[in-house]
Amino acid sequence: MKRTRVVFVSVLSAAALLVVGALVWRTVWGGPAGPDLNASRGEVVRIQVITAPPAAPWVQAAAAAFNATGEKAGDAVIEVEIVPMDGLAALGKWERDGFAALPAGADRDALSSEEFQATETYPTAWIADSRFLVDYANESIRDRLGRDVFLSDGQYRVRLLAETVLTWGLFRDRGAPLLENLGPISWSTVHKAAAAPTGWRELGGDPAWGHFKFAVAGPGDSVSGLAATVSAAGAYFGTNRVSTEEVTDQGFRRWLGGAMEAAANVSGDRRSAAENVALFGFAAGDGGQFLESELLWYMEGIQNRWQEPMIFHYPKVTVRLEYPFAIWAGGETSAAEKNAALAFQRFLLSEAQQRRALSFGLRPGNPAVSVSATEDSLFVRWQRLGVREETPGAVEMKPPKPELLTAILRWGEVEESP
């Protein structure tokens, strides 16, 4: 009997210990699946991909489709997490070491557990707005760490995913009198329209429309704003390679300032001209300069909300953005993570996803896929609004050199409003 009691008490104590242990474990780790548990299981390799906002809708949809396939890197299932970030913001982070890279010569295997955990959320890949941003980030990091991190050749080399170009867009009813009075839309036309003292009254439109309003992204606010400034300089100087001296020229600045008098700023956010027109309609712009992909993407909303579409007008001077997929080659990410990024890159370049890009207004990076390859291609859907399959005759601006980029951004800061 006594022995039975001893056993009984022992069982009770053991069970109580088990419960208390479980409670302590739960309290310490904060949940049933603490970080160590995940790490030790080795079932998932999770990667973060910094993505330019104009490409983000497509890439996010692709990431969801990719994650659903359960593809593995080694034994681990790949999970892709998309972090939308404008190219200028991302470039700033890379340059300032905002993602906290390991010091030069640091050995991943010799990291403390805290340091190791910090690398777990290090971006594995970057889909920038344009290749030149990746090159400048790489140059900046190479100066600091003494090694290339975004490679131009080899397995992890940068590959271009999709493209878009700068285009003009005008609300249909407002474009008609403007084109009739001032001729084809160009930076010069915008300048003249902005300078009209009585606005639409003298531009041949309804006086109730007020002044001519021009939708354009701010030069320091997003890559598309930067591209707009570069294209304006190209149009002003009649060149496809603008120099720092030209952009800082007082005559050019006065001229561009005159055109920008018409730049509508109704809320303070000037990152995407197309989004602003979709949200604020005519108040944000009777017309503007847009990324073709964004204008295509927002066109349904523009037409629904404002009961009038925008008509595409392709400029003589344009800028092409090509959304490169760059894999971080540094020691902050593991081989499994790099291979996971490579697998996702392959997925995005697959013909199915390249065709899918058309539904988001992007021109496929794969030249074998035409912009009219699918029925739900936005190029097909909005063909009647003047979207072109090709952009023949347009002069493409060369990417800005680092010092030119700095000059434009500094100017943007000075001109910043409010």
């Binding site: 069982v11 739960r26 949940g31 429309w209 509508a264 809320s267 951004l409």
Partner: protein, 630 residues
Amino acid sequence: MSRLQDGVDRGSAAPAGTGGLRLPRGRQLLAFAVVGCFLLCACGMTTLRAGAWISSFLEDRGSDHSSGGAKVLADWPANSAVLTAAVSESMAETLDGLAGEFNRRRERTPDGELKRIELVTLSPRAMVEESLGQPRFQAVAPDSSLWLVLIEQRWRELYPPGEGRLPESRVGPSARFAVSPIVVAAEVETARLFGWPQQTVGWGEVLGRATAPPTGFRWGHPGPENTAGVLATLSAFYTGAGITRGLTQELALQPGVLEYVRMAESTALEIGLGDDPTGGRDVGVEVGSAAEGLRSGILDVAVVQEQTVIAANRSWNRSRAGLEGGGGDGRDLPEGHLVAIYPREGTLWADHPLALLELDGRAGPALTQNQRRAFRSFTNFLLGKESQQVLLEAGFRPVDGTLDLHSDPSPFAIDISVDPLLPQTSLPLPGRAVMEIALEAWRYTRPPANIVFVVDTSESMDGGKLAKTKAALHGFLDQIEGDGDKIGLVDFGTGVAGSGGLRRLDETGRRQTAELIDRLEAGGATELIDAVWAAHSALQDAADAEAINAIVVLTDGRDNDSERSLRALRAAMQEARIQVAVYAVAFGRDADEELLQAFADVGGGQFHRVDETSVEELYRLIATEIRASE
């Protein structure tokens, strides 16, 4: 041996054919232990799970929502997935519902943390100020992106960018989840007086009435802590300058323009959230009470978000079921119905962004990866179809352009006093310098102020309270720019000790006043009424009727030693030649709030508890609200 025998015996005693199994005693004990252990473990785990379920159920009742004064700790663990967002009043109710819905989804981060959204309501301007230090929130949802630009600009002033090409940002990723244009709201009859709906109406007509010789016209707008308030002031600058774009600092500071703004603002009542519009003195009058102000005739027009008009009409229609109008020209709109006038010259938009703050850990805990994940998840949730539909139903224009505003059941299709195709023009946000002038317009347009502080230095103020009072007084001095104002100090802890009367706040006056503040010491009784009497006498002696005359009382106690009575004070104030407003600020729970409220009532001032208002806000209130009552 005996045990074994015992076991054998029992085993052999089992009736044949029953199939029963008699185990040896040792094995019985073992089986008992295993079963017992299993049962206890099962009970333990069930208890744990039930506890966890109850805890999560209680957590998921909605989002934790607190108002501006509530304390939320600016501290969080390194793996926190709780994202606290500051939200402006105009969006607070809708966002609170959406945050609750998000929290009920119980999304988790990869490391198992529960993603959770908590909200704190603040004015956009307060968000800007708090975001520059270590805020108690990691994200902000002001009513317009213009406040995000201000955060960024002020951050760069505090921390000038280094050598890099691209400076560090305080404001991280952001997304807009709803928009609403700023409109001039008026009751339908008033709108018709302006020629609505046949004619377009502009700021010129509205402000023309506001600045015309006394006609009794009253317009209302929120304070400069909100986008509608900023726009109202900007519209006065634009109209005063006679332009609709290209407003420069030079133009804005022209005497004629400033005089126009002063005249316009002199007929404006400050409206906002949660106060009686009849006083028109509050920092924040509720959206709904702006509607009440319009319907009761206290206000002729009010500058508000379009959503306010929709929400006000909806509740009005509900209370008067069956009286909805139907005529497209506004002729059939029922009495009390509000209409949205989209000013001809243009307007601004409230674009309701949700933005993450890049808290880098320099003044407190840094933003965690899980908070970033919570932000992304919540943003995606807000941009989803269901949330967008909720926002549309609340009267906001959703950012999802595929949602139809023009047909039923969109409130824009039902309420014909709003027009989703308007506005078609814009009043552009001017540059930084002009924005700062507009935000501080009251400083440029107010008359000089004579302010006497009545400071409780009784024994009970010893320690923290007196230190806090001194800090508040120094802060108040810092708020006053230029040398046009005069300040006096009355200390009543050890008897009413005059401090030399009113001092002009030139360099000498500032230094002397600062020294007086530093010398304040606690001790003695609370001669509250006598002290206010002394302050009032000082202002009467100054006899400056052109200036704002105010008394600010700072106390934690009850009057226990005054010779004069409240009745005598009230009579003296009512009969006085110089009108004096009393602002009473209570420290602690012991303060005689009834008496302090009575002071405020007599002088047409206000009563506040110390955690309800900042020094800057108090100063602005004094400078602007007395003027409104002129």
